[in-house]
């Protein structure tokens, strides 16, 4: 097992270097000049422009800029935002809990609906429920997030007035963050109405962000379940006269869920990255919206380091999923 873990971690090093090169190159192929973007409509004088270029190292050859960047990243310095002048890592840490909270709720929503729907569709294969569920899953998978989000806002918030339009909590509550997770913080403050408000603010964005994972999980559960239901041991169990419910719950489900758990693990990475649109629509103060805003402001340092940090986190999550999977399923380790 130790061997597997070490091998798996060693594999990450070239990946991390690759990602850092991509993040670095990506912001340099984006059009626009960061120094000019820092200045307003009056622009900067040519002399000041040169001073700033030098100060930020944009005058150096591109490879040297990359190695300087890599060097400071290795020391834990991701640079300062060009717009706010604050360290990127500080801003990231402030906003990250909001994204995690949203991603977690979205995943929760996707799992509690997706798995039962997938199981039921498999058991009732070919029924109207199966067809409807898979039709909905396909639609959910192909729905443009921006449109879907606005549609829900207009209907549930605008027309029915059931849910808040955007934000994380009603503005009448003024709580300084403790953990940064609103649901936890409100409980730590013992403020029940604030907790409910935070929960209500989570509903629509969690649904929007959870829609695609929901579709993926439902389809994956269905096909895994169908595969397991066709296995000999299930047939044997059935032949022995076991009740259909027991066959599914005790024998089929356990095995069918193994690939589903991997899928869920992979979704976590996608959710963190995919929060960009959802956060923008719902004005959710997380890293997704932060990245989008920074692209518009041409805050290259934020975009570059933000991409890198997100990639590192996604890789870490995937690593954990892989290791857990190997722990559950020893066959993986041998390969």
């Amino acid at each position: 097992m130790l061997n597997f873990v070490l091998r798996r971690i060693a594999l990450l090093i070239p990946t991390i270097i690759g990602i850092s090169i991509c993040a670095f190159a990506f912001v340099r192929v984006l059009p626009g000049d960061p120094i000019l973007a820092m200045a307003g409509q009056h622009g900067v004088t040519p002399e000041r422009y040169e001073v700033l270029r030098e100060q930020f190292g944009y005058n150096l050859p591109i490879w040297q800029q990359y190695f300087n960047y890599l060097g400071s990243v290795l020391q834990g310095n991701f640079g300062n935002s060009l717009a706010t002048k604050r360290p990127v890592i500080t801003e990231f840490m402030t906003l990250f809990p909001a994204t995690v909270e949203l991603a977690f709720c979205a995943l929760f929503f996707a799992v509690i609906i997706g798995i039962p729907a997938g199981i039921f569709a498999a058991i009732k294969r070919g029924s109207w429920f199966d067809q409807a569920a898979m039709g909905v899953a396909l639609t959910g998978y192909s729905m443009p997030i921006f449109w879907w989000g606005l549609l829900l806002i207009i209907f549930f918030s605008g027309y029915l007035g059931w849910t808040p339009v955007s934000g994380r909590i009603a503005l009448s509550f003024f709580l300084r963050p403790i953990t940064g997770f609103m649901l936890i913080d409100t409980l730590l403050y013992g403020n029940w109405p604030a907790f409910v408000s935070a929960l209500r603010h989570l509903i629509l964005p969690a649904i929007v962000l959870g829609t695609i994972p929901l579709a993926v999980i439902a389809r994956q559960t269905r096909s895994a379940m169908l595969e397991v239901l066709g296995e000999d041991y299930v047939r044997t169990a059935k032949a022995k006269g076991m009740s259909p419910r027991r066959v599914v719950n005790v024998h089929a489900l356990r095995n069918a869920l193994i690939p589903v758990i991997t899928t869920i693990g992979l979704q976590i990475g996608l959710l963190l990255g995919g929060a960009i649109l959802t956060e923008t629509i719902f004005t959710w103060p997380g890293i997704g919206k932060w990245m989008i805003d920074s692209i518009f402001k041409r805050d290259y340092v934020v975009v570059q380091s933000g991409l890198l940090i997100i990639a590192l986190i996604v890789m870490a999550v995937n690593l954990i999923v892989d290791l857990l999977y190997a722990l559950i399923n020893p066959r993986i380790r041998v390969k």
């Binding site: 000019l36 900067v44 002048k85 801003e91 007035g161 009448s172 029940w192 004005t283 103060p285 805003d293």
Partner: protein, 531 residues
Amino acid sequence: MKLMTTLLAASALVALTAGAAQAKQLVYCSEASPAHFDPGPLTGGNDFDASSHTIYNRLVDFKPGTTEVIPSLAESWEISEDGLEYTFKLRPGVKFHTQSYFTPTRDLTAEDVVFSFERQMDEESPWFNYLEGMTWDYFQGMDMPKYIASMEAVDDLTFKLTLTEPNAPMLANLAMDFAAIVSKEYADQLEASGDLAAFSTQPVGTGPFQLVDYQLDTVIRYQAFADYWEGKQPIDDLIFAITTDASVRAQRLIAGECDIMPYPAPADLEALQADEDLTVVEGEGLNIGYISYNTTEAPFDNPEVRKALTMAIDKSAIIEAVYQGAGQDAKNLIPPTMWSYDDATAADEYNPEEAKRILEEAGVTDLTTDLWAIPVSRPYNPNGQRVAELIQADWAAVGVTANIVTYEWTEYRERGKQADRKGPFMIGWTGDNGDPDNFFATLFSCSAIGVSNYSSWCNDEFEAAIQAAKTTSDQEERIELYTTAQEIFKAEEPAITLAHSKVFMPMKKTVLNYTLSPLGTHSFRYVDVQE
């Protein structure tokens, strides 16, 4: 089911507690997060709304809803005969905000005023570059270092500014956001503790509101400053709920989550106007959308050709299709709300037949040119691509082929400045200080070539008029000079003056005393909320 019941009961409780709030609160759904709270080095309108208009004051101010300069921290001022010495008498007893991080021991003095400007000018000062890579764009852009000879605190309440040469727009410049007056005592305290950066995140000003809390990208909370020199504001709490998407802002306003919002999307205007609980205040923007000919490039170096090309454009059709009722035809470079506007100028005539005849007479047949379209939506031009397409069609009718070109916004402006640029260049301007100089000299003076004079147009008579207008402070005389400048501009047609846009501000009917600023700023001073 039980969970559902609990949730419903709790929601009812939330509604009750929200309704029972005693403090008068105004929620403004702002369009973007501020970079920080020190207005000196900032440039964005949203930055200023969150800093200079709430937390700070300037020596002089613009009278709400106009571009007229009125007293603020300076009660009165005197300008010497030669226009070189400005002596400001400061208001006595002006208090700075008391914050958990700073307790002022004295009132505002001339020392604070000197510090506020000196930090933007003195490259040796630790405050000149106290945030990495910061620039004093407005201070530099308004040429302050060139004009300021010296600054002096004559006594506690007298500030003297000496100029190197007369500059009539100076007073209006001092009413701009970059000229916000900050506390020297606070700066000294931070310098002693070595935490200079806090100056931008933990602000201390003399303004109507003081900062309570900022949650990054989410919400800014202010409370009315009890010791404000004009008296405490009618509202107690001011909240900026940062909401970047225009449609979401509109939904929040309709749902009652905010009281007032800026920049509605044109598509949402109708619904907002139809809502019985809302009022949509509208006003003229202090701006111009225009298209610069490159007057050094043939055949655009011939004024007759330029005038003919302008004549070939159906401006009213463009304004109807692109601005959708939110714009008006521009016949001058400056908007009609600005003093010295020459209403006698004839509006551009649309006459393709005549245009074709003039072009033929000038020997211009089979002209092919580039036509530059702005890539982003701006207040003065909501859809540059569409404008370009309409012009392309109009010009095709008189035998001119236009190829539409565009680039990313920063690159677009850089390329537009180049002297050998091919073809007319679409651009625009929003005024900074309500002085005509901020349009004429900034955009079309000879020295602005390569900077913001995209027409590369340098006309001696025009230049003489606008330079003379800069050095005299006699308003009547200045009006006369700017009228001449407008006449020359029209006769020479270095640019097609396309449109001035309107600005809209939807708000709840319960919001009282909000005044729309032609300068595009959003201030909540004097605003009240009906209970």
